[in-house]
């Protein structure tokens, strides 16, 4: 149900290339074979009445409203289930059909409450529309017979209401949950008149398997499943197409408004990443944007012990600029820097790195991709030549074998997780390598062929052993390797991986994966057809993160699984704009488009365009900034949208570094953890309040469109511009599109990108230039970006973070569907009903050894620090491994994680921390201090509000 009507063709498009021609109501139509008569009619502009059909679902043929007549055939076939055939003559309207349809409608309406005028779906209801379309004027059956009008509402879900009295049992919801989402939470219980829609075993939605993706709500033609926001505010009257600001899937949404009030986010059918699907975050968790905690007035203070003072934008900007200049004067040009977030738009991150390079005059700029996917950038550039995933999401439709390593798509990338599950239900095979039993290992109608339960920190040993089997069992795609890859690097690699010490039998002791299983998985990967690798932070966030990424690229090249649909190397990016923030030159060693600051050509190009001489040395990466701050040579930091005090490892080290700095400027929606250490607070704008673009995990650049004016009066890019101007480096853009035009001018892979072009195409996958005017869904097709693919040697080096008798368990971390990273947004929505606290998962054996029961408070101690969490005793984790999420600051998950990092990029080793776990009664010392500090800082904030009251 949507306010701005997209055409519903009734049944999905056929992918056949054979065309058939027919006549419908006298109009000649040509459609691909396999197209339903309903869809063919819709293509000709004829709307056949329907209730149980919608084009996101396979035809079902239950409501009988869509009957038509076909010359030369008997009876009245349902047009949704009847395929168009060559030469058919079809009639969708005549007296007999009208009479039949009215009869059907009459039955529906006789068991439907006639409170249309007060119904939340009034004007946006297909049942109402159809009653009109078939010309229903009277209902002969009274309400005195048996009916469902008194059925009780289910309001358990915080975002939508289920009102069974209005249900017409079309089963669109059930099918949406199965076909689109793949959760199978709904069934039709009972038969005939008794049949009702049932979540689980006649449970409430919240008690069922439902993950609140909204697909059923979207599919429901009536008000039975309805957004609470629409029930409260009324049906929307206008819509703006934009892009979700949560994860790297980058779903397109229609932000639907009533006046200036946002009432619903509806997944957009034309969105190339999501095709009309969504998850609980993007679909429902947008209330944070207007949460009372939003700070909308700039603030400054001299020291973090001082109360905040609310000031004008001009004063705040002038203060920040003066401080940065003072610091540079006193401690040198390199004493200040900036960090952006992957939540920021391309234009915002581009401006911040430009400010650092041109106004600060150094390269001390980094982005939070440092702590997630920087090894992807490094590893893929070394092997394939471009720091990006190779495929589009739709490529999965042609995949036969999925190898998922260190990723949990159904939680982290839910909409793509659903696409994976769909393909698996169609028969693709699945290999999972993960220490933990992620949901994908076993979901309805899906079971992994192999689950390689490796020990955390042993990815490289496992990947090299897979390569060993492929090489020694003659499974290499010899022709591909000969034609597409560097001969010498391949020869060297082949010899290396074939060594006996890399065999599965030899590495079993390290990885914990039985050799026979690993051999089976390697054979399946190499011989099972199109094989695609999907990986996440379980690969990158290790001391050998970059090595693992290279090992993944090696595997894809050796088996010829790269350069066409269905295959490839696919990093699943955590946040909405991880890809984009990296593309935009947010790393301290790279200018936009991944051009090294040491390389004279690009440096001169940007220098000339920006009218400055650029620093020919790499800048500090985030962890290096902390070290330099503690050493006393790094004094000022501008942070846009990034909360390092919560998200970076070894919290106490980070906060000590923050305390050592003299000017911290935080630009954010909320007083986040880092802002508690800040001297200047610049209010940020949410994705609903600004224009820009995000680039998702498949390199797809999509528009973010302003839906409402910024609450604090400025969009983020304007704030950066103001700061730059105050620093004495002029920036004058009238609109973010002008920033994109500059990016396009200076970056060869973006030459063809502009806002007009994005509007025209919907979205664009870079590279987009003269060679690829409409973008590039699949990369490396004829040759690799670097020319020939390069094999890298991947020796396993055990992490220095080792278990011993003091720290006998390995802690690894991950995330959950309902929450998003540090949780600043999702914790301020009803999503907390699914996850109100982080818990420590521990295996029953380890729990029993320590006398820990489910729900007990436990202390977790590592070499870096100590915190407490409640335990969840579960066999999801293996003995020896414990696991937690990191969405709540008071959990202090990063108090425990260490500064160990990837050798090439300093990406922290979040995924491996040696710990001990013991039952405790009180909270940890850190948590006590954290609470006290938070209390103090909130009171300093409250004083600011108090002071500025008239």
């Amino acid at each position: 149900m949507t306010a701005i009507h997209e055409i519903d063709f009734g049944t999905p498009a056929s992918e056949s290339t054979t065309m058939v021609s027919l006549t419908i109501d006298g109009i000649p139509v040509t459609v691909p074979a396999g197209t339903s008569l309903m869809r063919a009619a819709a293509e000709a502009g004829i709307a056949v009445p329907k209730l149980c059909a919608t084009d996101s679902l396979k035809a079902f043929g239950s409501c009988r409203l869509c009957l038509v007549q076909v010359d030369g055939r008997r009876g009245f076939p349902a047009s949704c289930t009847t395929p168009a055939e060559q030469g058919m003559t079809v009639h969708t309207q005549n007296g007999k059909l009208a009479e039949l349809r009215r009869g059907v409608m009459e039955l529906y309406i006789s068991d439907h409450p006639l409170d249309c005028l007060t119904c939340a779906a009034n004007g946006d209801c297909e049942l109402q529309d159809m009653a009109g379309a078939v010309g229903l004027r009277e209902v002969r059956y009274g309400y005195e017979g048996a009916n469902h009008l008194k059925a009780e509402k289910d309001t358990s879900n915080p975002y939508f209401t289920f009102d069974p009295a209005k249900c017409i049992v079309c089963s669109r919801c059930v099918r949406a949950c199965e076909e689109i989402q793949g959760t199978f939470a709904l069934t039709i219980d009972g038969r005939g008149f008794q049949s009702v829609v049932s979540p689980g075993q006649l449970e409430a939605f919240m008690e069922s398997e439902c993950v609140s993706c909204g697909a059923c709500v979207q599919a429901c033609p009536t008000a039975t499943l309805m957004d609470n926001s629409v029930i409260a505010a009324g049906t929307p009257d206008r819509a703006v197409v934009t892009t979700c600001a949560y994860c790297g899937v980058g779903c397109a949404f229609k932000a639907e408004l009533r006046g200036s009030e946002l009432v619903r986010m509806t997944p957009y059918k034309d969105g190339k990443a999501n095709h009309g699907h969504s998850c609980v975050k993007g679909r429902f968790a947008w209330g944070y944007a207007t949460h009372k905690d939003r700070i909308t007035t700039p603030m400054i203070r001299k020291s973090i012990q001082d109360p905040w003072k609310e000031v004008s934008w001009e004063e705040a900007i002038a203060y920040a600029a003066a401080e940065f200049k003072r610091l540079q004067g006193q401690y040198g040009r390199a004493s200040v820097g900036a960090i952006t977030s992957s939540r920021c738009s391309n234009e915002e991150t581009y401006l911040v790195q430009k400010l650092v390079r041109a106004a600060f005059g150094n390269n001390n700029v980094d982005t939070c991709a440092r702590v997630c996917h920087s090894p992807t950038g490094y590893g893929l550039k070394q092997t394939l030549g471009e720091s990006a995933g190779t495929q589009d999401f739709d490529s999965i439709r042609a995949t036969d074998v999925m190898f998922v390593i260190g990723a949990n798509p159904t939680d982290g990338h839910p909409v793509f997780g659903s696409a994976m599950k769909r393909r698996l239900r169609e028969g693709a095979r699945l290999i999972v390598a993960d220490p933990r039993t992620i949901d994908l290992v076993r979901t309805p109608h899906v079971e992994a062929a192999y689950h390689l339960k490796l020990r955390p920190g042993t990815n490289v040993a496992l990947l090299t052993a897979l390569a060993h089997v492929i090489v020694t069992e003659g499974l290499v795609a010899e022709t591909f390797v000969r034609e597409r890859c560097e001969g010498p690097s391949f020869a060297q690699w082949r010899e290396f991986v074939a060594r006996p010490e890399h065999s599965p039998e030899a590495t079993e002791a390290v990885t914990g994966v039985p050799a026979a299983e690993l051999r089976g998985a390697a054979r399946l990967f190499a011989t099972g057809g199109n094989a695609a690798i999907y990986y996440g932070l379980g690969v990158t966030e290790h001391s050998q993160g970059s090595t693992s990424v290279m090992a993944i690229a090696n595997l894809a090249m050796a088996t010829g699984n790269i350069g066409r649909e269905g295959v490839g190397v696919n990093p699943l990016r955590g946040q909405n704009n991880v890809q984009g923030s990296c593309d935009m030159g947010s790393f301290p060693h790279e200018l936009p488009g991944y051009r090294h600051v040491l390389d004279e050509g690009p440096r001169a190009l940007f220098g000339q365009a920006w009218g400055v001489e650029l620093e020919p040395e790499p800048g500090l990466r985030i962890p290096n900034m902390f070290d330099a701050a503690l050493e006393g040579s790094f004094k000022g930091l501008y942070l846009e949208g990034e909360d390092i005090a919560q998200s970076d490892p070894n919290t106490q080290h980070v906060t000590a570094a923050l305390e050592a700095m003299e000017c911290i400027v935080v630009q954010d929606l909320f007083l986040n953890e880092t802002a508690k250490f800040a001297h200047v607070f610049l209010p940020g704008s949410s994705f609903l309040e600004k224009d820009g673009t995000f680039t998702n995990a498949e390199r797809r650049i999509s528009r973010v469109r302003k839906v409402m004016p910024p609450l604090a009066g400025k969009e983020d890019w304007q704030v950066t511009m103001d700061l730059s101007n105050a620093l004495g480096y002029p920036m004058h853009y009238a609109h973010p599109s002008e920033i994109m035009d500059e990016i396009a001018r200076l970056t060869p892979t973006f030459h063809g990108v502009s806002y007009d072009r994005i509007d025209e195409l919907g979205s664009i996958q870079w590279p987009c230039n003269d060679e690829h005017p409409t973008g590039t869904p699949v990369m490396h097709q004829q040759e690799f970006v670097r020319g020939k693919g390069r094999f890298m040697l991947t020796e396993y080096v055990a992490t220095e973070e080792r278990v011993n008798s003091r720290f006998p368990l390995i802690l690894t971390t991950g995330r959950i569907l309902s929450q998003y990273n540090v949780g600043a947004q999702t914790r301020r929505t009803a999503n907390v009903e699914w996850h109100e606290e982080d818990r420590l998962e521990i295996h029953p054996h380890d729990a029993e050894d320590r006398g820990i029961k489910d729900g007990d408070w436990v202390g977790i101690v590592s070499r870096a620090g100590e915190t407490t969490l409640r335990a969840r005793v579960t066999e999801r984790v293996q003995p020896g491994v414990v696991y937690t999420t990191f969405h709540h600051p008071e959990s202090g998950a990063n108090v425990i994680t260490t500064e160990n990092s990837d050798w090439a990029t300093n990406c922290p080793e979040y995924k491996v921390t040696a710990v001990q776990v013991t039952p405790v009664f009180g909270t940890s010392e850190w948590q006590a201090r954290f609470r006290q500090f938070t209390k103090e800082q909130l009171s300093l904030l409250a004083q600011a509000h108090w002071e500025s009251r008239p």
Binding site: A334, Q492, F496, T547, L598, E617, E795, W903
Partner: protein, 79 residues
């Protein structure tokens, strides 16, 4: 100095990756190039200035060799 120990640890990790290369010169050059291209001048200077510090006793031989053979390139230009 805490950060020196950290730099030594990071440099050794870089060496451990390159140690797999059969061609020794390639390995040495690889370590040097990585330090040059990814380490900020302060980090390189700290390491170069403290080679005699006890913390540097733990330096991987490949790092030492990389520094010995590429000192001019690795030493940041005075600013």
């Amino acid at each position: 100095m805490k950060s020196l120990a950290h730099l030594v640890q990071m440099a050794n990790q870089i060496a451990a990756f390159h140690a797999a290369l059969p061609d020794h010169t390639e390995a040495v050059n690889g370590v040097a190039a990585h330090l040059r291209r990814f380490w900020e001048p302060r980090m390189r200077a700290t390491l170069l200035d403290h080679l005699d510090d006890p913390a540097c006793a733990a330096l991987h031989p490949l790092v030492r060799e990389a520094i010995d053979t590429h000192a001019d390139d690795l030493r940041p230009a005075p600013r």
